[in-house]
Symmetry: C2
């Protein structure tokens, strides 16, 4: 293997944003741990003129890399634009092409080959649901706004800094799920009861917990050296929160080693929520 092969330029060429193809290509390329990929999106290629601009970037890359061709992941749909770009000096991978044909066969229906179908319009009902969910989750972050909690699809509870906010926003943004979140604080543990505000919504509650050591790290970034961030305080709060959730019969998961995608997926499975955004 030559050194040249350890780095490779990758272009994501799409008639839309290319975000789907970008994410997908990262998944495929993550299977090649020994190669460093330099990945660039070339979005909104929806005319032959823009196709030629994309080709110019591909040709420039070939020149700069002594003839080594880049890998191109394409979600171009229009046959003429796709044919044009695929004529460039590159390893051309047609993401949709590979699957549209077998799906056509399975369904006995021809695809529409229309551009931009994969992106929902900004005025569609589904899109407005997402925007409303984001606004809802923001307004109901950290228990700051109690009015309207009855509209929540799920209410995340847990100690401060255990991951409630990013998870709520992700559920809203990706799936149009109205996710509120509410902190469990030392006063609640002293009283030995869930916050009164939450009691009408017991069935919507889902708990997040976290290892005290990790919580202490996270809190120390925010308020270095504080009592709030001390390992002792974190241990006490986490133990008390878990006791309360156990007693109240609230399902929970630990966020310590999980990404927001993994946390959100698990919550949707456990609570039986499906995407409201499709």
């Amino acid at each position: 293997m030559t050194n040249q092969q350890l780095e490779r330029t990758v272009f994501i060429v799409s008639d839309g944003t290319g975000i789907t193809a970008d994410t997908f290509s990262h998944s495929v390329l993550s299977q090649f741990e020994t190669v460093k990929f330099n990945s660039t999106r070339i979005p909104f290629i929806n005319t032959l003129e823009k196709a030629d601009q994309a080709i110019a970037r591909i040709e420039q890359c070939v020149n700069e890399n002594k003839g080594l061709q880049p890998i191109v992941f394409s979600t171009l749909v229009d046959p003429a634009i796709k044919a044009r770009v695929s004529s460039a000096p590159c390893v051309f991978l047609d993401l949709f092409g590979a699957f549209v044909a077998p799906v056509e066969q399975a369904l006995g229906v021809k695809s529409s080959h229309s551009i931009g179908r994969s992106h929902m319009g900004a005025t569609s009902e589904q899109y407005l649901r997402r925007i409303n969910a984001i606004n809802f989750s923001l307004a109901h972050d950290d228990g700051q706004f109690v009015h309207g909690l009855e509209q929540a699809d799920v209410i995340l509870v847990g100690v401060s800094r255990c991951g409630k906010t990013p998870t709520s926003l992700y559920l809203a943004m990706q799936y149009a799920i109205k996710a509120a979140n509410f902190p469990l604080i030392p006063e609640d543990f002293d009283r030995g009861q869930l916050p009164a505000t939450l009691q009408p919504y017991r069935k919507k509650l889902f708990g997040l917990t976290i290892q005290p050591e990790r919580l202490s790290e996270v809190r120390n970034e925010r308020r270095p050296g504080s009592q709030y961030a001390s390992l002792e305080q974190c241990r006490d709060e986490v133990a008390a929160a878990e006791r309360m959730m156990r007693r109240e019969g609230i399902s929970w998961l630990s966020t310590t080693t999980k990404s927001i995608e993994e946390i959100s997926t698990t919550i949707m499975e456990e609570v039986g929520l499906s995407a409201r955004s499709y």
Copy 2:
């Protein structure tokens, strides 16, 4: 074409969250406008036992649909688990398999065939950058927190409710871009100057604008019948904001018909920002 073919069950089977495959499958299936797809993710299939549970769900679906096989989009990586699930009665589409081989050939390198590589660990540097960016964007939403603006990758400006907040959060969540946002308000237009806070950061500013008619609709949902939501007020503010951005040489785009994905992609292109999350 029989009625049976107008609806079809789709399963997304993954050893991880299946979010990438889910998004990708929606793009492919959106090319079939006449078919209604009922799509379900089956995530975290990382053992043969869980593979058998997935197969049971597929078989149940076949029974409930008079023998019609569902379409399965798979991003399973482990060969034994993949072989097990692909033996189920379904149209099995192997998303990674279709592209790993051509990439291997292009690189002259074998893939690692390892599970879960496509999801970054929750403790990786890239992941922490995303979480920090989300926290930054939340703290710097709507100009509420001025301290630390020098760390922003981009500062979105525009009239109230033109789309700044969802866009800032999307840029942070998807790309670990620290996106602040700052409202342009009637007082700024009366004074005829950018808010003083923003003046040191002129190069980081990017504007969002919106059609007054659409803005009035959006504001009316929030404060029905208010002066703030009136078409006249919206027209005045939008015109004044566009005048100010033109005079100050701030690039801008209209959000009226664009999704947050499209807005974010365009901003990244115009400002020259690339993902910080890979």
